[in-house]
Symmetry: C2
Subunit: 219 residues, 2 copies
């Protein structure tokens, strides 16, 4: 128990944020039947330094061998494990609007070992129907459903104004909230894990780059 606790505190947030990227590249390498890869090769592929790769993977006990590199399948397996893809997590989508439905129809969950089991909404026209084989239930049944069905993750796609109240409710019945509502939920205010995602931040970064590129040309 002590060992895991120590390991957890050693790993910086920045490294954790990079793990999903390793996961994606290793998944691709497996598809290409690549058996092993050196930190140098992996660094070229991912556009980061080999030393960063070695440092990052060392945080988790370092799975490489000098002169051999990394065994792709083994490394992929270890990172999958760290990311909980073998935990059989169950997710629900709260809010069956355009975004909720887009997420429900994507293969993102399945591919990462997560079962997306149901959607919830307040719209009477949607309640009782299903989407991509997943039932849409009334939001009134959300808490009971999550507790009875051991739901781990709630994907929050409700309007901004409803986000806080809904997150408070979800804190009583899931382990983690993936927040797409266009507002920042302060993780410290909730007793469960909260991950905020702001899609538009990435759009703004693109706009910054376009503006910078073109303001040079035009002057």
């Amino acid at each position: 128990m002590r060992r895991i606790k120590e390991k957890k505190t050693e790993v910086s947030n920045a490294v954790v944020k990079r793990l999903p990227r390793y996961y994606r590249y290793l998944t691709e390498l497996i598809k290409q039947n690549k058996l092993r890869i050196s930190s140098t090769e992996l660094s070229k592929l991912m556009g980061v330094t080999a030393s960063q790769i070695r440092q990052d993977l060392n945080c988790f006990g370092g799975f490489g061998q000098q002169g051999y590199g990394y065994n792709v399948t083994y490394l992929h397996g270890k990172i999958s494990e760290l990311l909980g893809t073998d935990e059989g997590y169950r997710a629900v989508i709260v809010g069956a609007g355009n975004l909720g439905r887009a997420l429900a129809s994507s293969r993102m969950f399945d591919k990462r070992g997560i079962s997306c089991v149901a959607l919830f909404d307040t719209d009477e026209k949607l309640i009782g129907t299903s989407f991509y084989g997943k039932p849409i239930y009334s939001i009134k049944a959300l808490k009971e459903y999550c507790l009875e069905n051991n739901v781990d993750i709630a994907v929050l796609t409700v309007p901004k104004d409803a986000a806080f109240e809904m997150a408070s409710l979800l804190s009583q019945c899931v382990k983690g909230i993936w927040n797409f509502a266009n507002t920042e939920l302060n993780p410290e205010e909730f007793p469960v894990i909260v991950e905020n995602i702001h899609i538009a931040d990435s759009l703004m970064t693109l706009c910054y780059e376009i503006r910078n590129e073109h303001s040079e040309e035009e002057i």
Copy 2:
């Protein structure tokens, strides 16, 4: 010209990535009629150190005054400008599937001064219809449309296998590609700005945190 170029190279990628977050918080402060804020207050709100805030904003000429703090509206205006929200960018969505439609229906673009003007798809049933007031055209008309209508940004939501070819085409007619296709487009391979977004990376981070939290409890 030289001055802009120098300014650009000084600003690290990490700072640029944080700008949209400043933008969001400042937008909220304006809504709350907050006129000025100290770096200490802003740091508490955003959960970063006051010194990081001062450093970040210094990169852009530092808009604060000792003893007064930052003028919220002025700072918001300056950051908006850096992020190109007053440039009147025009965007199209390539791929009118569930994700493309979710993006088309969101207010994300409008709120940031971007006009989302049309969607493009290969599905004959969709071509000629419209969605949230935006026409859906054949992908065959994409290049010509973008050139004729001065489109700046293409939002790519096509399937993974079509992403590279579509990005190559778009490189001839837009300034930037916002890539949602579940594959990493290497920005070096395209003559335009490419911003890859991987929504699922954030889901994986959430799973990592859930697993770590609960593996401690259970042992």
